[in-house]
C-alpha cells in the first residue's frame, strides 16, 4: 500500500531521525574519538580522518556533533514531555469538566500564548537557573498552551458525537469514555503536534544553547557548537556549516513527519 508514510521523502525523514536517535543512545558506535579532549591540531579542515574537521582546541567536530545529539535530543524530548503531560491534562480537564474550570484554564492558555516563546522560556530560565534540563523545562513550558488547546478541541468534538452518547446510555462512566473513545480519537493530531513541537524544541534549545543559557561547556550541545565557532567565521566555515546542517536536517525530518501524520490521518 502506497501512502505518504512510505514515500521516499518520508523514508529519508525516518532515516535522519533514527540516525540522530542512535547517535544519542550509542555515540561510541559511530566514533572512536573523545568529545571533550582534543588530540589533533586545531582548526583542521574536513578530511578522511576528521570528517567535520577539528575545532579551536583540536577536538574532532564530528565526534562532538555525535555526542552533542544526546543533550540536544534528550532536551527536546523532555521539553515535549513537559508540554504533552501538562498541556494534555489541562486540555482534558477543560474539555470534560466544562464550566468555570474550562474558562479559567483557557484564559491561562491565552496568557501563556501572549508572551513570545523565547521571552517566556527566558523568564522560566531565570527562575530555574541555567543548564540542560532547566532549558528543556523552560522550552516545554512554551508548548503547554498548544497541547492544551488541541486536546480540549479534540475532547469537545468527540464528546458531542452520537457514539459517546450511546456509550453513556449503556452505562459507561466518564473515565471509561475518556479512555475508550476520546483518547484513541485524539491520538493522531496529538502525535502530529508532538513531532512538530519536537522540531520546535530542538530549534529553541539550540537558540538557548547559542545564547549560553543551556548546557555549560565543554559538554557538546548543538547550539553551543555553533556559538563556539563564531570567532573563526572568516577562516573555518566547517565549524558552523556542518553542525548547522545536522540541526536543520533533524528539524526538517521531524517537521516532515508531523506533516505526513496530519496529511494521512490515522496512524
Amino acid at each position: 500500500m502506497k501512502t505518504a508514510y512510505t514515500k521516499p521523502t518520508a523514508l529519508l525523514a525516518y532515516l535522519i531521525l533514527a540516525t540522530a536517535i542512535l547517535w544519542s543512545l550509542a555515540p561510541g558506535l559511530f566514533t572512536q574519538g573523545d568529545p571533550i579532549i582534543g588530540d589533533d591540531r586545531a582548526l583542521l579542515a574536513p578530511s578522511a580522518t576528521h570528517w567535520f574537521g577539528t575545532d579551536s582546541v583540536g577536538r574532532d567536530l564530528y565526534t562532538r556533533v555525535i555526542y552533542g545529539a544526546r543533550n540536544s535530543l534528550l532536551g527536546a524530548l523532555v521539553a515535549v514531555l513537559v508540554g504533552l503531560i501538562i498541556g494534555t491534562s489541562l486540555g482534558v480537564i477543560a474539555g470534560t469538566l466544562r464550566g468555570k474550570a474550562e474558562t479559567i484554564i483557557m484564559r491561562i492558555v491565552d496568557v501563556l500564548l501572549s508572551i513570545p516563546s523565547l521571552l517566556l522560556s527566558l523568564a522560566v530560565l531565570i527562575l530555574l537557573g541555567f543548564g540542560t534540563m532547566n532549558a528543556a523545562i523552560a522550552v516545554g513550558v512554551t508548548s503547554i498552551a498548544m497541547f492544551a488547546r488541541l486536546v480540549r478541541s479534540q475532547v469537545l468534538s468527540v464528546v458531542s458525537s452520537d457514539y459517546v452518547e450511546a456509550a453513556y446510555g449503556v452505562g459507561s462512566t466518564r473515565t471509561a469514555v475518556l479512555i475508550r473513545h476520546v483518547l484513541p480519537n485524539s491520538l493522531t493530531p496529538v502525535l502530529a503536534l508532538v513531532a512538530l513541537q519536537f522540531a520546535s524544541a530542538l530549534l529553541q534549545l539550540a537558540t538557548l544553547g547559542f545564547l549560553g543559557y543551556g548546557t555549560p561547556p565543554p559538554t557538546p550541545e548543538w547550539g553551543l557548537l555553533i556559538a563556539d565557532s563564531r570567532a573563526y567565521l572568516a577562516t573555518s566555515w566547517w565549524l558552523t556549516l556542518l553542525p548547522g546542517a545536522v540541526i536543520v536536517a533533524v528539524v526538517l525530518a521531524a517537521n516532515h513527519i508531523s506533516h505526513i501524520i496530519n496529511q494521512e490521518g490515522q496512524v
Binding site: R107, I108, D110, V111, L112, L113, S114, I115, P116, S117, L118, L119, L120, L122, A123, V124, L125, I126, L127, A199, L203, A206, T207, F210, L211, G212, Y213, G223, I226, A227, S229, R230, L233, A234, W237, T240, L241, G244, I247, V248, V251, L252, N255, H256, H259
Partner: protein, 313 residues
C-alpha cells in the same frame, strides 16, 4: 460587530493582559526571591546587613509580596518600570534608548519578509509541475527549520567574509542593517509564505475563479485582482504569531550581530539575572501581542464583509 461585542472583546483583552502581568510578576519577582539580596549580600562587596536592607528598602522589597504586586502594577500603569538591579538605571530609560534600534530593525525586517513571502507565493502559482515548483513550495518549510542565529552567522560568513559585499568593520549605518534585516526576515516570512501559499491554493478551487476565467480574464489578472485579495485574509490572522517570531528573532539577531536594542537588553538582563528589566520586556511584549490580536479581531469583519453578513443573518 455590535458595540457591546467590541466592548466585551476589549475587556477580555485587558483581563488577559492583567493575567500576563501577574504571571510575569510571579515568575520574575515573587518566586526567585529578591534579586537585590542575591546581588548585594555577596561578601566580596563588603556591605553590612544594614546597608543591604537599606538597598532593599529603596527597591521596595521590604514590603509584603501582595503590596509589591500592586505597587508594581500601579507603577507599570504610569510608565514607571522600576530600576535595573544591575546598573540602577530606570528601566524605562533603558528601554527608551534601546527601542529605536529594535524598531528600525523590526520594521525593515517585517517589510522585507512581506516582500519575500509574496515572491514565494507568486512563484508557487507559476504553471508547471517540475522541480522548480516543488522547490519553491518546499521553501517555507525549509526556512522555518533553520535556527535564526545560524542564518545570521552564515550570512556574515558568505556575504561579509567570502564575497566582501558588506564590510565587517567600519560599515555605514545602512550597511550595518542589511544582514540583520535579512536574518530576521527569514523566520518571519516562512509562516507568512506557508499561509499565503495554502490559502491561494484554496481560493483557486472556488467556482468564482472559473467564472472569471470563462469571461476571458488572463491568469495574471485573476491572480492579482481576485485570488491574491481573497487569499490575504487568512494571512492577517497570523499577525500575532508573526509578532512572536519577530520578538524572538530580534533577540537572537541582535545577539548575533552585537547590535544595541531591546533584544540585547534582554540577553544582558538574563545573564545578570536583572529581573526588573526582564519583567518590563515581557510585559511590553505581551501588551503588544494582545493589542495586535485585538486589532486583528476587530478589523477582520470590517475587511471581510462575508463575515459581517454571516454574523448578522
Amino acid at each position: 460587530m455590535k458595540s457591546t461585542q467590541v466592548l466585551l472583546r476589549v475587556g477580555q483583552a485587558i483581563l488577559v493582559l492583567l493575567a500576563a502581568f501577574t504571571l510575569a510578576f510571579i515568575l520574575l519577582t515573587a518566586l526567585p526571591g529578591d534579586a537585590v539580596t542575591t546581588r548585594y549580600s555577596n561578601p566580596e562587596l563588603g556591605l553590612s546587613e544594614a546597608e543591604v536592607s537599606q538597598i532593599r528598602e529603596s527597591y521596595g522589597l521590604d514590603q509584603p509580596l501582595i503590596i509589591q504586586y500592586f505597587m508594581t502594577l500601579a507603577n507599570f500603569l504610569t510608565g514607571n518600570f522600576g530600576y535595573s538591579v544591575n546598573s540602577g538605571t530606570a528601566v524605562s530609560n533603558l528601554m527608551k534608548s534601546a527601542l529605536p534600534g529594535t524598531l528600525t530593525l523590526a520594521f525593515l525586517a517585517f517589510a522585507a519578509s512581506i516582500v519575500l513571502a509574496f515572491c514565494i507565493a507568486f512563484a508557487s502559482t507559476l504553471p508547471g509541475q517540475g522541480w522548480l515548483r516543488r522547490t519553491v513550495r518546499a521553501l517555507p518549510a525549509f526556512m522555518s527549520s533553520i535556527p535564526s542565529f545560524l542564518i545570521g552567522i552564515v550570512l556574515i560568513q558568505m556575504i561579509s567574509f567570502q564575497l566582501g559585499w558588506v564590510p565587517v568593520y567600519g560599515a555605514s549605518n545602512l550597511q550595518d542593517l542589511i544582514l540583520p534585516v535579512l536574518t530576521l526576515a527569514v523566520p518571519i516570512s516562512a509562516p507568512l509564505a506557508q499561509v499565503l501559499v495554502r490559502s491561494i491554493d484554496e481560493v483557486y478551487t472556488q467556482p468564482f475563479v472559473q467564472v472569471i476565467r470563462a469571461r476571458g480574464a488572463s491568469e495574471r489578472w485573476i491572480f492579482f485582482h481576485n485570488v491574491l485579495r481573497n487569499a490575504m485574509m487568512p494571512a492577517i490572522t497570523i499577525a500575532g504569531v508573526l509578532f512572536g517570531e519577530l520578538v524572538s528573532g530580534a533577540v537572537v539577531t541582535e545577539a548575533v550581530f552585537g547590535r544595541a536594542g531591546l533584544g540585547n537588553l534582554t540577553v544582558q538582563a538574563v545573564a545578570n539575572r536583572d529581573t526588573p528589566v526582564l519583567l518590563a520586556v515581557v510585559v511590553t511584549a505581551a501588551t503588544a501581542y494582545i493589542i495586535i490580536n485585538l486589532i486583528v479581531d476587530l478589523l477582520y469583519p470590517v475587511l471581510d464583509p462575508r463575515l459581517c453578513r454571516k454574523a448578522n443573518s
